[in-house]
């Protein structure tokens, strides 16, 4: 964890080429140093946070005054930090009979803040939850007394979660969990609070900033998607090749417990959509033996999307895993107990996250918790299916090898695609895919669910979603097109993105045929495309050219009237 002084040094670094994000920071305590730390921490993540900070204790004035500087600034993200100390101050001034309404009153205020912000701005809102203060007026009995401050504070935090759940543009930043990890004595320094109205100690400011920035960078498509596991002394204790199946440590006894708990954690990650891969220096059959035969193993072979065990270098093997999964190295986390392997991987694979696992396996989990490696801003049912889809992909690759012609292979797959507009069932997945797709993404516009809902009912847009199913299984929703009716004869392709899982299946041709059919049926003559380069979408640099679009003034135009359907082996599913 960087210190505040280090973050502050980042403020003087070069910000050219970084993604600029306009942020408004509203707090009822002094937030100047937090603001500096946020900008410094974001620099290290490739973000140029341009922070407008409201004057001290102006949350309500800025939000409810429609002519305020907040609305003039038009931020993309609004951070609201209402502190527990100020909440306690409010509580202290209440009449005793009103104590029990503290949480519901505050929640009502938060609800009003949210609806005001979301009606006036197209911004995502980050709300800090409440750190704990036990005023020790009731002792342990506070938990039984609804009117106690502690009861109200905990009720508020709980109800905040319920409040946040349905809103796709309202995010909680869990600083209470940061306080939990640091302990209140380290999180808060009374002398500084009394003098400056700062409720965070200098020590924790960087961690609070990191927690906030991890949300922001996730909103901008930077988050981890995959864990690559070493086996010996990482997934289980001991060395399977030397110690044998009976002697490796996993299960409820001794140090085995640490590995079992570690495996449960990894399994939960898999269940929420993180792809698991294995990269081990071992003979493959021996490495697989515990997964198949050890009764105490929590992880099984069907949990692992890509299993690589051989005597090649880990660097080569991780490159191989990356080629199969088709995701960026910067979305991968490599867990290995061996410092030597970690260093080689870190030095040779740019962008990959390689945690410095503690020497003692008993400490793995607590250490990994503290890193907060798996931030997300959405969750859909498809997440749980992801591993299976990558496994099926491996079967397709095997089938491809058995055909001499690619057309024969594609025909043999018996592909069908369901083409639909946005609806309430696919909205979460559409938003999520727009956040996850980096490579096959022509303009890299990120949407959250409320954006998708708005486009879905806006007459000036024509949105499309595509699924792809074949004889091996269903890939689910893998492609999104958003057409904007730019003029009476032209449809602008605001978004064209596709999951890299379905490259080389002719999906591009099928998609374009569908778009041209729509254009013709609705009286449009031209499709207009644009490629906005990013560090990651080189893959689609020549996308429009390859599909027969012609360049004109920096855009790509296709004449729908003179278009002939492109060859493809995908049929429309009804």
């Amino acid at each position: 964890m960087a210190t505040f002084a280090e973050l502050k040094k980042n403020l003087k670094k070069d910000y050219t080429g970084l993604t600029a994000v306009k942020v408004a920071l509203l707090g009822d305590s002094a937030t100047q140093l937090l603001s500096q730390a946020l900008r410094g921490a974001a620099w290290a993540e490739g973000l140029d946070l341009q922070i407008w900070e409201a004057d001290f204790n102006q949350v309500e004035r800025q939000v409810f005054d429609e002519g305020s500087e907040l609305y003039e600034y038009e931020p993309q993200i609004v951070i609201v930090f209402q502190s527990s100390h100020k909440l306690l101050g409010t509580y202290n001034k209440l009449k005793p009979e009103a104590y029990s309404s503290l949480a519901s009153n505050r929640l009502e205020l938060i609800g009003n803040i949210y609806s005001q912000l979301s009606s006036k701005l197209k911004a995502k809102i980050i709300y800090f939850n409440y750190t704990e203060i036990d005023d020790a007026v009731f002792g342990n009995y506070a938990g039984k007394i609804e009117s106690s401050f502690l009861f109200q504070l905990r009720k508020l935090n709980y109800e905040l979660m319920q409040f946040a759940a349905p809103f796709a543009d309202f995010f909680l930043c869990d600083i209470s969990s940061v306080q939990n990890r640091w302990g209140k004595n380290n999180f808060f320094q009374s002398s500084i609070y009394i003098n400056t109205e700062m409720v965070l100690s200098m020590e924790v400011i960087p961690d609070v900033a990191a927690k906030t920035v991890s949300l922001i960078k996730t909103m901008y498509g930077r988050f981890n998607k995959c864990v690559i596991l070493d086996l010996d002394n990482t997934t289980w204790g001991g060395i399977i090749g030397d110690d044998g199946l009976e002697n490796i440590q996993v299960g409820s006894l001794g140090i085995g417990k640490a590995f079992t708990e570690f495996q449960y954690w990894v399994k939960k990650l898999k269940n929420r959509g993180i792809i698991l891969a294995v990269c081990s220096k071992n003979t493959e059959s021996i490495a697989k033996e515990p997964f198949e035969k050890h009764p105490d193993m929590v992880l099984h072979l069907e949990d692992i999307a890509v299993f690589v065990a051989n005597w090649e270098t880990k660097v080569d093997n991780i490159r191989h895993i990356q080629a199969i999964l088709n995701i960026g190295f910067d979305s991968m986390v490599f867990l290995d107990d061996n410092p030597f392997e970690r260093n080689i991987v870190r030095e040779n694979i740019k962008g990959i996250t390689v945690p410095e696992l503690p020497e003692d396996p008993a400490e793995y989990l607590e250490y990994l918790y503290s890193l907060n490696l798996f931030e997300t801003i959405s969750f859909s049912n498809e997440d749980a299916e992801r591993t299976k889809q990558y496994q099926v992909e491996a079967q397709r690759t095997a089938l491809l090898k058995s055909f001499t012609s690619e057309d024969d292979f594609l025909q043999n797959l018996q592909m069908v695609s369901l083409v639909e507009p946005f609806n309430k069932f696919n909205t979460p997945r559409v938003a999520q895919l727009s956040q996850r797709s980096n490579q096959f993404n022509l303009r890299t516009v990120r949407y959250i669910e409320s954006d998708i809902e708005a486009i879905g009912i806006d007459e000036s847009y024509a949105p499309f979603t595509f699924t792809l199913e074949d004889k091996f299984g269903d890939n689910g929703l893998i492609c999104i097109i958003i057409l904007k009716k730019e003029s009476s004869d032209t449809l602008f392709i605001e978004t064209w993105l596709m999951s890299c899982r379905v490259l080389k299946r002719g999906m591009e041709n099928f998609t374009l045929n569908t778009l041209v059919n729509y254009a013709r049926a609705n009286g449009f003559k031209y499709l207009k495309g644009e490629y906005i380069p990013t560090a990651k979408n080189e893959m689609v640099k020549e996308h429009y050219q390859k599909l027969g679009f012609e360049e004109k003034d920096g855009y790509w135009m296709l004449d729908a009237e003179n278009y002939t359907d492109k060859k493809c082996f995908i049929t429309t599913k009804n």
Binding site: F4, A5, K8, K9, Q32, L33, Q189, S190, S191, I192, I194, N195, T196, M198, S201, M202, E203
Partner: protein, 79 residues
């Protein structure tokens, strides 16, 4: 630790915290004399001094110093 030694260490804290090599503190130096020493960086300086000397200042001390000499007095009284 004598006053000069405390002053030397405080100077080093100022240099590190304000990220500015050319700082020379004397007992009579005040915030107005040091570029970058404002109410915001004051908090950082206080916490950094506390850490360096492994001490804690009382709330009322923090805003009471008129110059570096008085800060040194506070430190000295806690060592």
């Amino acid at each position: 630790m004598d006053r000069q030694e405390i002053l030397n260490q405080v100077t080093q804290v100022f240099i590190d915290t304000l990220d500015e090599d050319n700082i020379t503190l004397t007992e009579s130096t005040s915030a107005d004399d040091v570029e970058g020493w404002d109410s915001l960086t004051h908090v950082q300086l206080v916490v950094a001094v506390e850490k360096k000397f492994k001490i804690r200042f009382a709330a009322k001390e923090i805003q009471s110093w008129k110059n570096v000499g008085e800060l040194v007095n506070s430190i000295s009284s806690k060592l």
